[in-house]
């Protein structure tokens, strides 16, 4: 029982971090950026290259991965999303194809075989009989720190309020002196950084391989569809619903069902409650 509570808490924190960059984009543009999973792949591989192959300090590896994530996000916004001007179906198709292309790029650079990412901090701690690696603990703590910082940024700063404003009423934002295009750029950049950082932790949780973008993308899509919202707190709540559901199903029935229940949940919510559980437009 305690195992499940702890495992659920750890996994859900990571899921929230994985999803939040995706929900940010959904909230501001009402569009699913299906290249989002590729940010995690790019983040994971960048960290692997700079800290494990070149031997830079781990923190430098994370920072470089985040910066590469920012650049990726900005490029996708500028070259694809802005050009397609709000045609959400076209954007979703284009970004999904882009993810596959980026995967091919990773195979070209790093090969097909999966790689093991060394733990960010090695070691294991026992909590009431449950074994928890420091690595997972660090990932969860980092997730919470990042999510709380993001929440404060969105609620307390001029740029954060501008992001909320653009997500709720673009015309209202523009007549308040906000350039929606600039706010979109900032949001896509932040989303890229969040995805890349999530990728470092996700890869150290599982492993690094070129197809690793698929399952985090499914988690992120599930959070948006189940929640029906792009808010940070909503993301946190739904990430815990999905995280606990997966832990319970995998430990009670079979580990193979991990991603499957999440996908079934997406379809179930689409059929039964297409607007999601909350259905409110806010950040």
């Amino acid at each position: 029982m305690l195992q499940i509570i702890i495992q659920g808490l750890l996994l859900s924190g990571l899921y929230a971090l994985i999803a939040v960059g995706f929900t940010l984009i959904f909230s501001i543009g009402r569009v699913l950026n299906l290249a989002y999973g590729a940010y995690l792949m790019i983040g994971g591989y960048s960290y692997f290259y700079f800290s494990q192959i070149l031997g830079l300090p781990k923190i430098a590896g994370v920072v470089i991965a985040a910066l590469i994530g920012v650049v990726t996000g900005l490029l996708i916004y500028r070259l694809v999303v802005k050009t397609l001007k709000g045609d959400s179906v076209a954007i979703e198709i284009a970004t999904l194809i882009l993810a596959v292309v980026l995967q091919a790029g990773v195979v070209l650079l790093f090969g097909d075989a999966s790689k093991i990412l060394l733990p960010i901090i090695p070691g294991v701690v026992r909590v009431e009989g449950a074994a928890v690696t420091y690595n997972v603990l660090v990932a969860t703590v980092a997730s919470w720190v990042i999510l709380i910082s993001l929440y404060l940024f969105v609620r307390r700063t001029h740029m954060g309020r501008a992001m909320q404003a653009v997500s709720m009423d673009v015309k209202g934002a523009a007549i308040s002196g906000i350039d929606p295009d600039r706010v979109n750029m900032v949001t896509w950049g932040i989303s890229g950084a969040l995805g890349a950082i999530a990728g470092v932790f996700f890869a150290s949780y599982t492993q690094l391989y070129p197809g690793m973008w698929v399952s985090p993308l499914i988690i992120a899509v599930a959070v948006v569809i189940v929640g029906g919202i792009g808010s940070i707190i909503g993301t946190l709540i739904v990430a815990h619903v999905i995280g606990y559901m997966e832990v319970i199903v995998t430990s009670a029935i079979a580990p193979e069902l991990r991603g499957v229940v999440t996908m079934l949940l997406i379809i179930g919510v689409l059929v039964l409650r297409p607007k999601g559980l909350f259905g409110r437009e806010e950040l």
């Binding site: 709720m168 015309k171 308040s176 437009e281 806010e282």
Partner: protein, 234 residues
């Protein structure tokens, strides 16, 4: 040179022309009303000043052209806008809605908030309320307050009385008059209600099917048969 000048302004929605060769001017410190029926082009005119439509011709504020500027830059040049549908941020508090208006005028926040709370004490009492739960009159106040937070030199107000009870209309008129008096604000309003416009404005322009048909001071137009016929129905 007038404070705000319009030179042969035309506006288009796709191929449809919504405004045709409009030229008029607004002097510093006055209240001007644009009156016209539904669909006459009043909102389009204000949207055009804000750079929200496709236009030809020119609009100048103190001699500086606003043509081709982005909406954000037009706000920065000193034009504040309270649109007809308010375009507030429904799930943000009153205070946060006002703070969004301060995006480009960050040095004036304290001073602007103070002025807004003097004009609308209710906004201070309800500063933590979400605007999605507010009445139409309260939203109008937030919308006017948000426009004031941009530190405007001219304030555009689209149909300030639409959908409001008569008592609230008087309140809004009083507040607009105080803004003009106490803050020396130049104000352009649009109205269907010619009575309301005459009480508040010193000059009127009448817009019909996208063209400026009649103009003059309130005293000149008070007994004008054309206006009587069109807007008072008798």
């Amino acid at each position: 040179m007038s404070f705000l000048e319009f030179d042969n302004l035309s506006a288009f929605y796709g191929k449809a022309q919504a405004l045709r060769d409009i030229s008029f001017s607004v002097e510093q410190g006055e209240i001007v009303a644009i009156i016209g029926a539904n669909g006459a082009g009043k909102s389009t005119l204000l949207d055009s000043i804000m750079g929200l439509t496709k236009t030809t011709g020119d609009i100048r504020l103190e001699g500086k052209s606003l043509a081709g500027l982005s909406t954000a830059d037009i706000v920065k040049s000193g034009v504040g806008y309270a649109p007809e549908r308010f375009n507030l941020f429904p799930f943000m508090s009153v205070r946060d809605n006002l703070m969004v208006g301060a995006f480009t005028a960050r040095d004036d926040i304290e001073q602007n908030l103070e002025a807004i709370h003097r004009l609308f004490p209710r906004l201070e009492e309800r500063e933590n309320q979400e605007t999605s739960t507010q009445s139409g009159g309260e939203r109008q106040m937030v919308s006017l307050g948000r426009a004031l937070m941009t530190s405007p030199r001219v304030l555009l107000v689209d149909e300030p009385t639409i959908g409001l009870a008569p008592k609230l209309c008087d309140e809004i008129a009083e507040v607009l008059a105080r803004m003009n008096r106490e803050l020396k604000m130049t104000i352009v309003i649009t109205e269907q209600n010619a009575n309301f416009a005459m009480k508040l404005a010193s000059r009127l322009y009448v817009l019909e099917s996208g063209e400026m048909r009649i103009s003059g001071t309130v005293d000149e137009l008070r007994d004008d048969p054309r206006l009587m016929e069109a807007y008072f129905g008798h």
